[in-house]
Symmetry: C2
Subunit: 203 residues, 2 copies
């Protein structure tokens, strides 16, 4: 199976890159579907699962010296993370796919995914968030910038749960794409060609 993982800065258009890549390549696409799947399997609310996966690194005492009020909740969050790994590996084994985020690049290392990192200048990310009304329309650009940094810090922290490497360090990816000023729709076909090229050289 061919697996493509997309890591991305918030607001950079990484998700759109992933979605369009899946379309162009005819691959399955996974993003929020992963939390939905986990929620269904664990008979939980999808919002809770999403929150637990995002908040996991903050609230789970994975490092010594951390304490937490409710051991039941900790157990549940660990269960969710374990389930996530299982779901990701099932996805990877099932068909060619594009997976956005979820530390899939690290968790699926053994499947040799093609790893992309999508990033952009802050001004572009803020503009994009405003245009796509991500994070609510009521935030000022300065608030948006803070929110973007907060989400990316969470992603970096989440990444550290699974890897020793630094999130976003180019060495860990096959291709790093700066989308500043770019129409995502236009740039996806050459990225898809690059991936086809890479895949052909792996086999």
């Amino acid at each position: 199976m061919s697996i493509i993982t997309i890591s991305r800065e918030f607001g950079s258009g990484g998700r759109e890159v992933g979605k369009r890549l899946a379309d162009v390549l005819g691959y399955a696409y996974y993003d929020r579907e992963i939390e939905e799947d986990i929620a269904q399997r664990m008979n939980m609310d999808v919002g809770y699962v999403t929150h637990a996966m995002r908040g996991g690194p903050h609230s789970i005492p994975l490092h010594f010296g951390r304490t937490l009020a409710n051991p039941y909740l900790v157990k549940q969050q660990v269960d969710i993370l374990v389930e996530k790994q299982r779901v990701l590996k099932e996805i990877a084994a099932a068909s060619n796919c594009v997976i956005v985020g979820r530390a899939a690049d690290v968790i699926l290392e053994e499947y040799h995914p093609f790893k992309i990192f999508v990033y952009a200048d802050m001004a572009y990310k803020v503009k994009r968030c405003v245009e796509h009304a991500e994070m609510g329309e009521n935030l000022t650009p300065r608030e948006l910038e803070r929110a973007i940094k907060r989400v990316d810090a969470q992603r970096a922290q989440y990444h550290r749960l699974y890897a020793d490497t630094e999130w976003g360090r180019k060495e860990a990816y096959h291709l790093c794409v700066n989308t500043t000023g770019m129409a995502i729709k236009q740039v996806v076909p050459p990225i898809a060609d690059y991936i086809r090229c890479w895949l052909a050289q792996q086999s």
Copy 2:
């Protein structure tokens, strides 16, 4: 004019990427031609110019507190660096081109070049150096690794002459390409397509 700059780790195949990109796009290609041009203009030996440009950051007292034995040599090296900037700007103004190294990405900032960074895993770079007999054929893999690191450290230092940014930090480039395990010939066409796409969106 459309300008493409290639920054690259030693042994990553960046020069080949540049050469082939120039071919595919029908652009002029500049690499060692720059030192040759400077040498001719300044009536100097090309080897000396190359050495001065590489060694510049080490021997020129650009930071306070440095001393140097021979003020005449310092003057000459500064003259070479000034001449280099002039040559690069002339090249940029003359025709569409691909320029490898020489801090052209920073020096030609005002021309809005498309900036690529080419990198690869150390093992791949060593293998490539052996195959292409770069740096002489008598070095062991360990010596090659040391030599690669030394050249890249020089490049990083040279970059700092012109920019506050860190050499190789992905944010300063439009596209970062990891060539590990790749046949450069195969990957250049999609990179060229990506660049065409970017150029179309700038105009």
